[in-house]
Amino acid sequence: MAFPVEEKHGFLVVLLHGDVDLSKSPAARKVILNCLKKRRHVMVDLAAVDYIDSSGVASLVEGFQYARSNDLEFALVGVSEAAMNVLRLARLDQVFRIHASLDELPDGGD
């Protein structure tokens, strides 16, 4: 089960969908890290995610950490209330850059 990647506003947008749980988060992790390894800014779109568990969130954290140590942008969009609750529990809502939607983004400047 692959997660599609789109190009938008200078970002690579990873579209996660469905349940991002123990069985699928390794795939998500791989896609995210691969995009970052191309030295591109990455946006993860969670709008189509029904459920994300801690392994999914852990993959996002890993991506964010990689981006920061390589001077890349990493942000989340379309975070649902349920996903936000999970992030809030570990206070990660204060750590990630979270945008309401893709359209309100400024162009990812280099």
Binding site: P26, V57, V86
Partner: protein, 272 residues
């Protein structure tokens, strides 16, 4: 028999019907029926010897019922084979009374242990997941300590982190506030509420602390001498006119009430 069954139409994660258990020849649980709805916090309350710890052990599938049925996620646990049990266990987390952390491992390794045993996640992912859960229970930075270096409250929180690491749908917590000072106990109660709200997990708490029970419970089951006195919301339990429930509630300030006949019988009764 059907009248005693809990209501099946609701979305129940636990259904217990007519559970009877013995310890040797001594009846410990007598015709216990209860159900726990998805997303609710059910507090099983009772004094020591009420059978609440025994009930927990049966809910966890650590013993086989002498009679009656225990259903978890709709499955009768007596009919499960070991693989099905394993699948079920991955959806349950348990925080034991004393923590029950493995003493030979660091706190971090303890929290990662379920992941290591049940998943093939990347090592890095596992580490982040365990640290996230330690953040949730406010034990960030303690992952390299050994369990013996933690205080009682910290042990309970570390145990909670381990219980939560697989994002269970059902969480059991045995005596969260026992042996803790009131401030730490209240923190833990708040934590339980936050976790329920964020993770939508059903929680079963076994406790003898009234204050804690009233604070966190959606519903309370009052257990006394192996029987259920009542199951109800916090208000229903508070305003109950069942004599034994009232006794139990006032026991915090009163001496334990003595039943004269019962007591004399115990002291003078025939050989057993």
């Amino acid at each position: 028999m059907m009248s005693a069954q809990p209501n099946h139409s609701r979305d129940s994660v636990i259904e217990v019907s007519n559970l009877v258990t013995y310890y040797g020849r001594h009846k410990v649980l007598d015709d216990v029926s209860l159900d726990v709805a998805s997303g609710e916090i059910m507090v099983i309350m009772g004094g020591s010897g009420s059978g609440k710890s025994t009930l927990l052990r049966y809910l966890l599938g650590l013993h086989r019922a002498d009679s009656g049925v225990v259903r978890l996620f709709g499955r009768d646990i007596n009919t499960l084979n070991s693989r099905e049990w394993m699948g079920l266990r991955r959806r349950m987390g348990v925080a034991f009374q004393g923590g029950a952390l493995f003493n030979s491992m660091t706190v971090g390794e303890n929290v990662r242990m379920p992941l290591r045993e049940h998943t093939r996640l990347d090592e890095n992912t596992m580490r982040i997941m365990s640290r996230m859960k330690l953040e949730v229970v406010n034990l960030a930075g303690f992952e390299h300590l050994m369990p013996s270096q933690l205080s009682g409250g910290m042990l309970k929180r570390a145990a909670l982190a381990r219980a939560l690491v697989m994002d269970p749908a059902l969480l059991f917590f045995d005596e969260p506030s026992a042996g803790l000072d009131p401030v730490v106990a209240a923190d833990l109660d708040n934590l339980i509420l936050r976790i329920r709200d964020a993770m939508r997990v059903s929680i079963v708490v076994v406790t003898h602390e009234l204050e804690s029970a009233f604070k966190i419970a959606d519903r309370i089951t009052v257990l006394d001498q192996g029987r259920i006195l009542m199951t109800g919301t916090v208000d229903e339990v508070r305003n109950s006119d069942i004599a034994r429930v009232r006794n139990l509630l006032s026991r915090t300030c009163d001496e334990q009430l003595v039943d004269t006949d019962d007591y004399l019988q115990r002291l003078t009764g025939g050989t057993d």
